[in-house]
Structure formats: C-alpha cells, structure tokens
Point group: C3
Chain length 343, copies 3
C-alpha cells in the first residue's frame, strides 16, 4: 500500500459500487458484495486488493494472481483464477486510473489564506480557495473557487486562475489566464517575456512582448516547465493538454486539445499544433511550423518542416518514420560493409 | 491592443516626435502632426495605429493595410497605401522595437522594501530599489539604484547587483556579480556549485568550486536557466548577451559580447565563446572548446571541436553547414536507393 | 585566492599535517614544517600556495611552477622544480579535492529557525538544523541533525531529510525520503507526480502516483533538476550519485550507487541503472530499459535498448561506441565522395 506518511486512502469499496464508478462491469454479479480496500500490481495484489491487467506482456502473470479483484479486457477473462472477481472494461488502464482515484483522492489543504501570504487588496480570491504560506497575489488577480496555491507561488498582476486548480509550490504566473481544473506542478513558469529582440551589434533591442498565455481547462503542466507569453498574439495551450517536466514553449505557440508533450521537449515561437499531437521526450520543433492533428514526433527528433495530420516523424531533421528507419538501416549496413573491408 | 489587465500603454504620440525617437524618418514631413496611440500587426492595424513591415513575406499585405502609419524600408515605400504615413528605417524591426517600448514601457513597482522581505543588516540596498514580498538579501550583498527584485528571490552573501536590473520572482543568486540593466527572468539560478568532483569508487569527492559568476551589463537571461560558478576561474557572461529559458552554462564557461543562446542549449565546463556567437535551441557544446566570434551552431547540434570565427556548424557531431547538408542528402539518397531495391 | 566576499578560508596548514589528511605523502619529510595558506593553479601558484598536477597536458608547465608545494603522481616528481615541496599521491585530483576542502570548508549558517519560517507543529526538526527565512515544513516531516535548508524551500508532508544535508534555496520536496549528507541545489524538485495518465480522447485521466522518491546518502543533485515520484513502486537514486543541473528523472526509475548524470540528460519511466553508470550531457534514455553497471552513454545520445555492463554507447539511436564512430566515418566518406563528384 501507499506510504501513509504521504497518502490517505479512502474506501473500502463494494465491487458492486466501484465497478460502475470506474467504467467496468462485474463478470459475475454475485461478486458485487465483495470488498476491496486498496490497489496493487498484478504480482503483488492479495486478498482485499484490486489489480488490473492492461499490457499484454503481463498476461502470463494473470493465472497466478492472488488479487481479490482484477480489471481486465474480456478477452483475458478465461485465464484469470477462479477466486478473483473480474471487472471487465474495454480500456483496463483507464478503468484502473478511475479506481485508483477513488482509493486515493487528491488531498486538499484547508481553505483559507495563510497569514504569511501577501494578497493585494484589489485581488479577488474565492473564499474556499487555499493559499499556502508565502504566496503572493498581485493587483487585480482572480483566484477561482476551490483552487489551491502552494507555498511561495507568485500570481502576478491581473492573472486569472479558474476554479478547482492545483498550483504547486514555487510556481510563477504572469500575463496569463488559466482555465478550470488545471494542475501546475512546482516550479512552472508561465507568462514571462518571450525571447524577442531585434539583434543589433550595438546591443540587441528588446521587443516588448504584448501578448498573454491562455491555458485551457483540465491541463496538467510538469515541474520547472516554462511557457512564454505571446509577442502580440497569445501563446495558447488547449484544453486537456498534458505537458511534462522541463518543457519549453516559446511565444505565440498554440497547442490544440489533448496534446501530450513529454519531458525536455521544446517548441519554438509561433509553431501551431493541432489536437492530440504527441511530442516525445527531448524532441524539438522549429518555429513557425504547422503540426497536424494526431501527428507524433519521436524522442530527440528535430522537426524543421510542417507535419501533416496523423503522421509520425523521427530523426534530425525529422522525416516520416518509415524513411527514418530506412536511413538508420542503410547507414548501419554501409558501416558494417566498411567495417568488414577494413577490420 | 494589449490586455489592459497586464499592460499599461503610454502615448499617444505625434509621428513627428515618435520617428526620431525610434530611428526612423517620416517620408512626408506633412504627416508629422498625425497621432498614433498603439502598435498592431500589418493586417490588424487600423486608424490611429502604428505597424511595421520587416519580413518580406508579408510585403504583399502592405497595399491593404489600414494602419495610420507604417515603419518600413524605403524600397517598400511605393507599395504602401496613400493614406498611411510612412516611417522609413534601414532596420524596420529594430525601429519597431523602439517604438513598442515607447508605447509599452516596462512597468515598475513602487520603490522600497516590502515588510516581509528579510534584508541582512550588512547588505546595502539603494533607496530607490524595489524589494518584493519574501525577498531575502544576504550579508554584505549590494543592490543597485533602481533595481527591482521580484517576490521570493534570494540574493546570497556578498552578491553585487548593478543599477536598473530587473530580477523576476523566485530567482536565486549566489557567488556572483551582476552588471547594470540586467534582466533575470523567474527561476534563474546563478552561482551555485559547478559539477566538480573527483570520481572515486569509494565515493566521489567534491572539489570546492572557488570561482564566481560575472554577468555583464545589459544581459537578459531566461526562465529556469542555470549558470554555475567557476571552479577557480570565473564563469563569465559578456555584456549584451541574450540567453533563453532552460539553458545550462557550466563552470568556467566564458561568453563574449552579444552572444545569443536559445532555449535548452547547454555549454559544458571551460568552453569559451567569442563575441556574437549564436547557439540555436537544444544545441550542446562539449567542454574546453573555443568557439570563434560570430560562429553559429544549429538547433540540436552537438559540438565536439573548436569552431573558427564566422563558421556555422550543424549536426551531431557538428560539422560545417555545407558538409552537414551533404551528409543529410547522401543518406537520404542512399536510403531511397535501398528503398527502391527492396520495396 | 577565492573572493573573500563569498568564501572563508581556513589554514594555513603545515605540509606535514596536510599531506596525510588528503591522502598524500611528502616526497621529502624535511618539508613537513613548510606552511601553505591557499590553493592555486599550477601556473598561478606562488610562495605559500599549494597546487596540483593531474592532467598530463599541463605537465610541461610543471618545471616553471613557483608553487610552495605541488600534489602530483610520483612519475612527475623528477620534473618538478627543486624549490617546490612534493606531495605524492596516486590520484592527485582526488588528493587536491580533499586539500581544497580543508582550505575552504563548506560554510554553515547558524543553527535555528528563522522567525519567518513556517513549521508545522507535528514536524520534527533537529535542534541544530538551520532553517532559513520563508522555509515551509509540512505536517509530520522530519529534518535531521545539522541539516541546512535554504530560503524559500518547501518540505512537504511526511518528508524525511537525513542528517547533515544541504538543501539550497527554492527547493521543493514532497513524497520523498532523503538520506544523510545529501546536497540539493537551488530549484531541485523531488517527489511531484510522475507523468502518468490513461490517454483518452474524452480527456486524459490521471493515474494517481502512489510511490515515493528515495534518495540515498551522499548524493548531490543540481539546480532545477526534477525527479518524479514512483507510480506505485518508488523512484530510487542510490547512494553517492551525482546529478547535474536540469536533469529529468521519470517515475519508477532506479539508479544504483555512484552514478553520474550530466546536465540536461533525461531518463524515462521505469528504466533501471546499475552502479557507476555515466550519462553524458543531454543524453536520453527511453523507458523500461536496463543499463548495466559501469555503462557509459555519450553526450546527446538517445538510448532505445538495454546496455550491458561496462559498454559505452553513442548516437541516436545509441549503439556501441566503435559502431557509432564507424557510422560517422562512413557517412563522412560517402558524403565527400558525392561532393567530389558534384562540386
């Protein structure tokens, strides 16, 4: 079970109650009264514990599980031990995510404002928001209902944060509008100046960055990630995007709905992503590109050209995945031939 | 116009006053009395607004602009609509930058020290400096005239910050000397230990890092960027350098004047850059290299060797730009040939 | 000498006392009474100063040194000037590291808790720990003897920090156990949620991250580095690991003892490193890999497969170092051939 120093567990739950709440159906309704009190992995779960099978490579562990109950796809049901209650779900991992949220709902600090917080008198803070020690809220800022702001975070002048957001410690927000139910992890920086200047040997001259950052509802943004505000237009992150740690998003960039950006990726200024684009870790996109809906960029790739919707690109410079692997294979083959000749 | 929650606009300005202040000349002096009250893009500007044309690919939008006035190169003057006043400039973007600064001068918090700031009695803070809530100033530190320090920033023992600097929230400075008119964005870390140790299977042994970081005048350093102090010599960033977000600069590195380092680039220990070097995003330089004045490194490149002044290098390992593109083209050609044979 | 605004020097030391404390032996015991008062580089050291020779490329400077004493390998002893006392050591850099620590022991702030710190009444803080201004310590957290916590750092609920740790300013710790003698530089983020969610077009669903981060004794972790907590298992950094700035370590990753991870490298979820693995700067490891003890990964490499113990891999995708250089050479040769034909 999760370390109780850090986590508070809810439950136990009757399977008959739990299954519909996480989008599953009991294979045998007579199991509805059985109770589960925690989640665990397939190999470690025991009596009273709920597990799941999603990745096919763990399927062989299924017959040996001692779990009280298991979430799985119907195609694996026959392989499960007789003693384990089965929760059938088309997407077992999604179902597990919902179940785990029931057992471990996100913890909430008490509502209210710590006396060490500094809140400008012109700011509007919902009465049930929670402001931790040393928070600073600037003039005219608005903090929505139920929103939590961690210690030492700084919410600048005029910033709007929607309802039910979770803002970690040491976050800096300026020149931005944040939607509802957004999670910003510790050290996130949103709204600072973009990298805009007119190069000049006598001294580069700053171009005032006059746009904002607009973050849609239900986004999650990882630790120490930086998102610069627009130069004139806004920088926009669409609803439901998940952005990992140490990501850089330049000025005027726009992300559609549900994009996934993995750690240490970077997007240069004015590039536009459609919906559900996936950028793998340490990838980079040049500026002023258009990346179509559902496109995918491989880890460490460097994208220099537009990507049509639905395509996967890899490499530096990035190219279609098939072409990329052909290049890799070609180079390996030629190098081996040379090796054979010279060794 | 810029969102008034975040920006305060100055003006309006008479064109006759504005033009010389941003380095332009009115094409028709009879337009000197016309007024402009804001800046806008070429396609969005209307009456009373100032726009500019710099990138040739927008030239075709010029005849349709409804702007009150437009900053442009003399070669485009004939294509502008008759109603638009023209401000002729050799470098229109530079001229626009200056004009935009007039409309949107950087905002200043009031001078003085917030009562929650903790200032060591041996520190020297200029009377017109501004220290935000929760700032910490260590023993012997010096903060120059007109300098602004954002909430929660920590200025360590002995650090010297020059006049008219803008230090964002949550910045950490130690073991460093910062010039005048330097902008440090939120989360910048300057002066912490470099990555110096003697490897030993019984436990790596720390090598005390006895140098400093010296940042020249007029530098701008981006959010969450890290600059380690020297191991014995100093780490030096020359005057007028622009460094983007999430950049890493190792111990003993030196940058000349006016260098540009784009987001997520990294420079390993003891590498020396001349003046006006440009490192594109996500590039990396190995340690102990010499990069000549005006050299350029492409995005995602990995530099393993010295680069002579003025050369552009790309790739991993980086090579001259012409050679790099020849390699890319060769690999593509060979892979296609193979593809043709096998598909 | 080191800038006295930032460093306090101990000493002077008798060579006869110093040598055994840093693992060296005086070549001539009659030099035991000579005194040294500082360290300096081989070319800059003068009377009263201690230097060292480690890198063979500096050996030619040895005969000209004016240093009072020099740490070196016995093989260079004959080349040293007669006036310089010699401290013979098998690993001169390691020996220098220890000597420099004697001259410049890490500075300590006074013990005690600044009145602006906010310490939960259920936390346990050792009486000789030092809590700087604006520190926040959560419920049930434990801070070990002699541990120093810098301004604005946030230690979350239940976190355990061992004895004699040095935690810089603006560090965020949650859901983690930190060993003894650990150094965390400014802006380090440990224990936040891993990047775990079930992708879903209707909205990605968060998977609660129920593990912890466990950091072993004697680790050093660089500025703005992020280490996510485990999804169920823990994220583990073994004892004696050195991690540089801006590194990303994903959930469930495990590092053995004494690993070295250089700046801006990243390790994706569930990858396991053995002991003494070295990851060079800006390298990246895919998830679910096994990297054997003593393996090395080159700068900017992208590792997609397991690496056996002791092997060095380079490139994207990474391959054995010999194969990598063969590929580079092959491509160069083919590109030149093409260049010759076409130019």
């Amino acid at each position: 079970m999760a370390d109780p120093r850090f986590f508070e567990r809810a439950g136990p739950f009757r399977l008959g109650d739990l299954a519909p709440r996480c989008g599953a159906q009991l294979a045998d309704e007579s199991h509805a009264a059985r109770m589960v009190s925690d989640v665990a992995t397939l190999d470690q779960a025991g009596p009273g514990q709920l597990t799941f099978l999603d990745n096919p490579k763990y399927a062989e562990a299924l017959p040996q599980t001692r779990a009280e109950a298991c979430i799985l796809h119907t195609k694996y049901a026959a392989a499960a031990p007789a003693g384990t209650a089965l929760l059938i779900a088309p997407n077992p991992y999604l179902c597990y995510a919902r179940a785990a949220q029931l057992f471990y709902p996100a913890m909430r600090p008490a509502a209210g404002c710590h006396p060490s917080a500094v809140v400008d008198p012109t700011a509007t803070v919902a009465p049930d928001a929670s402001l931790a020690p040393h928070v600073v809220i600037g003039p005219g800022a608005e903090i929505g209902a139920g929103t939590i702001i961690g210690p030492g975070s700084v919410i600048g002048r005029g910033v709007v944060v929607g309802a039910e957001c979770r803002i970690g410690p040491s976050v800096t927000l300026s020149h931005c509008l944040i939607g509802a139910r957004v999670t910003l992890h510790t050290g996130v920086r949103i709204g600072q100046d973009g990298f805009g200047f007119a190069p000049d040997p006598a001294g580069h001259v700053k171009v005032p960055q006059l746009g904002r950052v607009v973050i849609g509802d239900d986004c999650e943004i990882g630790a120490n990630t930086t998102i610069d505000r627009g130069a004139g237009p806004d920088t926009v992150v669409g609803p439901g995007c998940w952005i990992d740690n140490l990501v850089q998003i330049g000025h005027n960039v726009t992300l559609g709905r549900g994009c996934i950006v993995v750690a240490q990726a970077g997007i240069a200024g004015s590039t536009q992503l459609g919906d559900f684009v996936v950028l793998a870790a340490q990838s980079g996109l040049a500026g002023h590109l258009k990346i179509g809906t559902g496109a995918r960029v491989g880890a460490k790739s460097g994208v220099m050209t537009d990507i049509p919707a639905g395509e996967s690109h890899f490499g530096i410079p990035a190219t279609k995945v098939k072409e990329y692997f052909r290049q890799i294979a070609t180079l390996r083959r030629l190098a081996q031939k040379k090796g054979t000749q010279n060794d």
